[in-house]
C-alpha cells in the first residue's frame, strides 16, 4: 500500500503531546505543489486531533469528521511553508472526541477551529491498528518523511443550475480511484470531508463573485455549522449547492449543502469577504 501514510497524511511530526489533552505538530507543505488549499490545513489540524484521540483509545477506535462549529480562515499557507499545528481536546471518550485547534505559519495564524466533534468508530474497520500505532510512534519520535504528500487533483465540478447571485448547483464527480483513497482509508475508502468542503467553497466563491462588487479579491473567512451526515464513497455522484443568504457590498453569507441520491449528506454555512489579504 504505497499511498498509506502519505497520499492524504498532513502531520509529519508530533512535537508535543499531553495524552488525551493537547498536542502540537508540524507539517511541511511540499514545495513542489502548485497550491495548498485551506481545507487541507483544516484536515491537518483534524488529523493531529485524530492521532491524540486514537492514542487515547489505545488504537481501538478512531474519529471521523462529523461536526465543526466554526472555522476561521485568517491567513494562507503556501507550498514550502511549515505548518505549525495545535489541538486542545475538549473531551475524548470511546464514543466521540471534541476539540479545537489552530494552524500557523511562522507564528502567523492561518486557521482557527472550534467546536469540532468526531464520532469514534472501530479503528480496525479503517486501518490496521498496529500499523497506526507504529505510525504514531514515528510521528512522536523522529517524524515521518517530509514532502511525501504528492498533491491532489481537485475533482471536477459541473454546473447544473444557476440562479444568478442567488443559487448555484453543481455535480461533483468523486473519482472511483485516486491515490488519496489509499490513505483515507486503507481498509475503507471514504471521500474526505475536507475535499468536499473545498469543492463547496469553490462554488460559494463563484456565487459570491456574482453578488459582491468587482475589484478586491474574494476571501472565504469563516465556515460554520458544518455537519457530515454520512460517508461519501468513491464513484458517488454528489450534488453540491450554495445559496446566498445575505450580502452587503463587502461580505456575503451563504449556505452549503451536499446530496447523494437525493439524501442530504452534508450541510454548513460560510462567509466570504471582498478584501485584499492581510
Amino acid at each position: 500500500m504505497p499511498d498509506r501514510f502519505s497520499a492524504f497524511s498532513f502531520v509529519d511530526r508530533i512535537t508535543a503531546l499531553e495524552a488525551g489533552q493537547r498536542a502540537c505538530g508540524r507539517f511541511l507543505i511540499p514545495a513542489g505543489l502548485p497550491a495548498f488549499s485551506t481545507c487541507l490545513v483544516a484536515e491537518a489540524v483534524g488529523q493531529l486531533a485524530a492521532w491524540v484521540a486514537m492514542a487515547q483509545a489505545e488504537f481501538r477506535r478512531r474519529p471521523v469528521a462529523a461536526l465543526s462549529a466554526e472555522t476561521r480562515i485568517v491567513g494562507e499557507a503556501s507550498p514550502g511553508d511549515i505548518l505549525d499545528l495545535g489541538v486542545e481536546i475538549e473531551r475524548c471518550d470511546p464514543d466521540a472526541v471534541a476539540y479545537g485547534g489552530w494552524a500557523r505559519v511562522a507564528d502567523t495564524p492561518v486557521l482557527e477551529m472550534c467546536g469540532c466533534v468526531g464520532p469514534m468508530l472501530p479503528l480496525e474497520d479503517f486501518d490496521a491498528p498496529e500499523a497506526m500505532r507504529g505510525d504514531f510512534e514515528t510521528l512522536c519520535g523522529p517524524g515521518a518523511r517530509p514532502s511525501r504528500f504528492p498533491g491532489i487533483t481537485a475533482p471536477d465540478l459541473s454546473l447544473i443550475e444557476r440562479i444568478p447571485g442567488r443559487r448555484l448547483r453543481a455535480a461533483l464527480h468523486v473519482p472511483v480511484s485516486a491515490p488519496f483513497f489509499g490513505d483515507h482509508f486503507p481498509r475503507r475508502t471514504v471521500f474526505p470531508a475536507s475535499l468536499l468542503l473545498d469543492a463547496q467553497i469553490r462554488l460559494a466563491v463563484r456565487l459570491a463573485g456574482e453578488t459582491l462588487p468587482p475589484g478586491e479579491p474574494l476571501r472565504p473567512v469563516r465556515v460554520a455549522d458544518v455537519k457530515m451526515r454520512s460517508f461519501i464513497l468513491p464513484g458517488h455522484a454528489v450534488e453540491i449547492e450554495t445559496v446566498m443568504r445575505s450580502a452587503t457590498d463587502r461580505a456575503a453569507e451563504l449556505t452549503l449543502a451536499a446530496m447523494v441520491a437525493g439524501k442530504r449528506v452534508a450541510t454548513g454555512r460560510m462567509e466570504i469577504v471582498s478584501q485584499a489579504p492581510g
Binding site: L67, D93, D95, V117, P119, K227, T267
Partner: protein, 150 residues
C-alpha cells in the same frame, strides 16, 4: 434524584434554549420543536444529530451528558441483566423506562421493546429533563449553576 423530581418549572426554564439548540442541530424551525414531538419520527433526527445536540447542550448549559446516559439513568440500580435480555427490555426494564420517560405517551412504548429503539421515544422534554437534572446535580455539588442563557 429521580425524573419525577424534575418540576414543570425546571423543564420550562431550560426549554427555550434547548429548543433553539435542537432547531439548529436538526435544521428546522424552533416552532417545530414542541416539547412532546418525537425527535426521530417527528423531526427526522439521525444519530449525528443526537451527537450535535448533546454537545450543544453540554456547551451551553455546562453539564455533562455521557452517551447512553438516558438509558443508564432509566435502569438506575437495576442490574443490566434484569433490565435487558438479548437486545430487548425485560418486563421490569420496560416498567422502569416508562417511569423514567414519563413524558412519553404510553402507546408509544412497544412491548416487547428493542433497546435499540429507545431513542425513538426521545422528545425535547426528555432532554430538558436531562439538562435540568444536570443543573441540579451541579447545584448539589455546591457549584453555581450557570444561567441557561449563558
Amino acid at each position: 434524584m429521580t425524573t419525577a423530581d424534575i418540576t414543570r418549572e425546571e423543564i420550562l426554564a431550560v426549554y427555550p434554549k434547548v429548543a433553539k439548540i435542537m432547531a439548529d442541530a436538526l435544521g428546522c424551525d424552533v416552532e417545530q420543536v414542541r416539547l412532546d414531538v418525537s425527535l426521530i419520527d417527528g423531526l427526522n433526527a439521525e444519530s449525528i444529530d443526537f451527537l450535535d445536540l448533546v454537545f450543544g447542550l453540554e456547551r451551553t448549559f455546562k453539564v455533562k451528558i455521557p452517551r447512553g446516559k438516558i438509558v443508564e439513568d432509566a435502569r438506575g440500580d437495576l442490574p443490566a441483566a434484569a433490565f435487558e435480555e438479548k437486545g430487548y427490555l425485560t418486563d421490569v426494564g420496560l416498567k422502569r423506562l416508562r417511569e423514567y420517560l414519563s413524558e412519553v405517551p404510553a402507546d408509544r412504548f412497544d412491548s416487547p421493546m428493542r433497546v435499540g429503539d429507545i431513542p425513538r421515544l426521545f422528545t425535547p422534554e426528555t432532554f430538558c429533563k436531562v439538562v435540568a437534572r444536570g443543573l441540579r446535580a451541579q447545584g448539589a455539588e455546591g457549584t453555581s449553576a450557570p444561567r441557561p442563557d449563558a
